[in-house]
């Protein structure tokens, strides 16, 4: 600021002067400088001076009482907690600006000649006007883990139900197939239930299961279980609901009031463990396998009977959770911090694309509208295809605009904060899988006790990271003939 001097005029007005005119001119000079004063004071007091204090604080301890040299910086680059924040900033900077600029370019090019492009562009642009806080809440419900709330899980669960249909007896969350076995049944391999004892041809199997409410049986049309008849040369039996309200303590015999398990898929498993036949139970829970041949067999209830589908308390993917998309099992804590790519980052990037694509589309679109049409036309005349024209002519001509958009988005995500603390919730806290530099500065500086030194060092690092973008802007604006 020292360079401000109320000096001689650059291009002195060609006025021949008497004293009073000179006096008036000097007054004008002073006034025109005075116009800068409010802005200058504001920027000095609230931006420049505090930024210098932050730099100083970054070399001091937490309570700002003792100089500690580079300790804070050393801590930043060695603790897993802040390394996670750095990693997330890297993921954001590597992925987001490039993708959002590409989407903006594609949308701008696609809508270029559409008559109702204005309406389309307005629709895409609207999220730019919403607060990131409100938009984060929108995506919090879209990504909700419960498929009865979140539309993403509703879709994935519906698709999964098609390929992997739910069973007639879906387990509740936390319930296991093994817990169902009551009489004559034990847990089998891989979430199945099977008969306790082995049988030969002509044998009868009775399996009592519990764990499902009466409504399940009503819905499936269950009736009173009856003693199964013997099938010569085959294996027959009964699967029944081994719980009678009249006699709740009995857990072995088939009592009045105890229904069969209808629509249960069963398989007959031979002594070497492979399924040789399959069948389905009747409304009374009766089943039979005919002509089973020699050997001993178990009757098994496959796990597919217990698959919970979308409609029965199914739980979807935790899109906003910290689970990593890259394998991390054999890594040290530091390696994990640096190398894992949590799903929550990707989900947030998707939400942020929705927010910012309209911005890149409009700026690229304005660049497109200003292009020299003759060059494009010449390219067509020369027989270039659309794709060639786009790649060889349009994109190179647009390059300056694309670079500006890219740099703008890089600055934006370096400072990324609002979506992190809103959509990341618990995972945004220091050490959490979605935390970033800006969220760490907030939590460490203002909530989690006051870590002035560490928060200041983080802020300085953030500042250093935006300096290349600052230089880019300066060069661009200076070179632009200012």
């Amino acid at each position: 600021m020292a360079a401000v001097t109320v000096g001689p005029v650059e291009s002195a007005p060609p006025v021949k002067k008497k004293g009073s005119i000179e006096h008036a001119a000097l007054k004008d000079h002073l006034q025109s400088v005075a116009f800068l004063v409010p802005g200058a004071i504001w920027l000095l007091a609230i931006v420049i001076y505090p930024a210098i204090v932050t730099i100083k604080d970054s070399f001091f301890n937490e309570t700002d009482t003792k100089a500690v040299g580079l300790t804070n910086y050393k801590d930043l680059f060695t603790t897993a907690e802040t390394l996670i924040a750095f990693r997330n900033n890297v993921i954001w900077v590597l992925v987001f600006p490039f993708v959002v600029t590409t989407i903006g370019l594609v949308l701008a090019v696609l809508t270029e000649r559409i008559r109702w492009a204005t309406a389309f562009k307005t629709v895409i642009f609207l999220p730019v006007v919403f607060s990131v806080t409100a938009s984060s809440m929108v995506f919090a419900q879209i990504f909700d883990v419960n498929p009865h709330v979140g539309v993403v899980n509703a879709l994935t669960q519906t698709v999964e139900d098609v390929f992997n249909p739910p069973g007639a007896y879906p387990l509740q969350p936390g319930q296991t197939a093994a817990s169902l076995a009551s009489a004559g049944a034990v847990a089998g391999p891989h979430g199945t239930v099977q008969s306790t004892t082995a049988v030969k041809a002509g044998g009868v199997v009775k399996m009592g299961l519990t764990g499902f409410p009466p409504t399940t049986f009503q819905a499936l049309g269950a009736v009173q279980a009856v003693a199964p008849k013997v099938v010569p040369g085959g294996v027959s039996g009964l699967v029944w609901r081994d719980f009678s309200p009249n006699n709740p303590t009995d857990s072995t015999s088939v009592l009045s009031g105890e229904d069969g398990y209808p629509q249960l898929h069963l398989s007959l498993v031979n002594s070497s463990g492979s399924a040789v036949a399959s069948t389905t139970t009747s409304p009374a829970g009766y089943f039979s396998f005919s002509h089973v041949g020699a050997g001993t067999f178990h009757v098994r209830v496959p796990a597919s009977n217990f698959t919970a589908g979308f409609g029965a308390g199914g739980v979807g993917t935790s899109w906003l959770g910290g689970q990593s998309l890259t394998p991390t099992a054999n890594l040290s804590q530091t390696e994990q911090a640096l190398l894992s790519v949590p799903l929550v980052d990707i989900s947030m990037i998707v939400a942020y694309l929705w927010i910012w694509a309209g911005f890149t589309m409009v700026i690229v679109g304005a660049g497109l509208a200003a292009l020299d049409r003759q060059a494009l036309e010449a390219s067509h005349v020369d027989g270039a295809t659309e794709w060639q024209t786009l790649r060889r002519v349009t994109i190179p001509m647009l390059a300056p605009v694309l670079v500006v958009v890219l740099v703008t988005m890089i600055i934006n995500v370096l400072k990324i904060f609002d979506i992190i603390i809103n959509l990341g919730a618990d995972t945004s806290e220091p050490g959490g899988q979605s935390s970033t530099l800006a969220s760490d500065i907030y939590y460490k500086g203002f909530t989690d006790g006051i870590h002035t030194g560490l928060a200041s060092a983080l802020a300085v690092v953030l500042f250093l990271l935006v300096i290349p973008a600052m230089l880019f802007n300066l060069k661009r604006i200076k070179g632009g003939g200012s």
């Binding site: 025109s32 409010p38 006007v129 607060s131 879209i142 409009v362 703008t408």
Partner: protein, 323 residues
């Protein structure tokens, strides 16, 4: 126009969202065959973009009790689910006393009012102070204007995290010495917003002012007009459209802020609407009906401002695609 470092359409009338009306054949002019496919694709993209906001809107009109039981799309199978009770509860008052009432401290209407109390002064101050500074930078005849301008361009990208900790401390010091501590008050938030709105504001106004012929000012000076007169009578009327661009931009920017309010308001119960939503989300028993209705209420004003002044907003954005 001085922002032509960016080769974007320089004609202000093109600088609106709907400048699809380009002259000459477009890129797709010869791309006949899949034209209808393109239309279908574009419509699908538009629907995809509408879906998130639309789902939130539907949630805000379904009974609270159904939120976790069935997806918002069930409303279309059961139109009887439609209710405005969420909005009634949000604005008119408490349900069981756990949610603050409309205009009570911490209520949704109080928060909307607080947002305005922050946004309006911040917008007016940024526009006014930026115009004054830009006038000095463009029409002043002191040395070092170029250097100051580049400093301001540099400040445009400074993350506010770099300054906010010492500002909070400085506010407290100010409280000790003068008896007035802006920390935890609306003026404190405004002061900070103005400081970080100024670099972009000055940049934008300077670029617009440079389009005003200097001869006009020189002629005024020769005629003996003072700087105030020139500013108020010559530059301000011409620069009104530029001011509108800046004001709209600043209004929406400030309205949507969370971080500054979060840090500087501290424990003040009167919070802007973004902080209201954030607090609800962080509450132990998060009520999504409040979050959904609150979010919808929070976007009404910026949406109205944007739709009314669209071209000013986009012009400002294009002129300074650097923030």
């Amino acid at each position: 126009m001085t922002t032509t470092e960016l080769p974007v359409a320089a004609d202000p009338d093109l600088a609106i969202i709907g400048e699809g009306e380009v002259k000459g054949p477009g890129i797709w002019a010869r791309f006949h065959a899949p034209r209808h496919l393109l239309t279908v694709f574009v419509i699908l993209v538009a629907l995809l973009w509408l879906l998130p906001s639309f789902s939130m809107l539907v949630i805000s009109f379904r009974p609270e009790a159904l939120f976790e039981q069935s997806g918002w799309w069930h409303l279309f199978a059961n139109p009887a689910e439609f209710t405005i009770s969420n909005y009634k509860n949000l604005f008119a008052g408490p349900k069981g006393g756990t949610v603050p009432s409309g205009f009570g401290a911490g209520g949704a209407l109080d928060s909307l009012r607080t947002s305005l109390e922050i946004t309006v002064p911040a917008t007016v101050l940024v526009t006014l102070v930026s115009a004054l500074s830009a006038y000095s930078l463009v029409f002043g005849r002191w040395r070092g204007r170029g250097f100051i301008f580049l400093t301001i361009v540099g400040l445009m990208v400074v993350p506010l995290q770099v300054a906010i900790l010492p500002v909070v401390e400085g506010f407290s010091d100010m409280g000790k010495w003068t008896g007035w501590n802006p920390y935890g008050t609306i003026p404190g938030v405004v002061i900070f917003h103005v400081a970080f709105g100024l670099p972009f504001g000055i940049f934008l106004m300077r670029n617009f002012f440079r389009g005003i012929p200097k001869d006009l000012i020189e002629a005024g000076r020769v005629d003996g007009a003072g700087e105030w007169t020139l500013f108020a009578r010559v530059v301000a009327p011409i620069g009104i459209a530029a001011s509108a661009s800046l004001a709209i931009f600043q209004f929406i920017w400030t309205w949507n802020d969370l971080l500054v309010a979060l840090v500087i308001l501290g424990a003040d119960p009167h919070v802007p609407i973004t902080l209201f939503i954030y607090d609800q989300e962080r509450a132990l028993a998060a009520n999504f009906w409040i979050i959904a209705t609150g979010s919808m209420a929070s976007i009404v004003i910026p949406l109205a401002v944007f739709l009314s002044f669209q071209r000013y907003f986009v012009r400002g954005m294009l002129a300074g695609a650097v923030k």
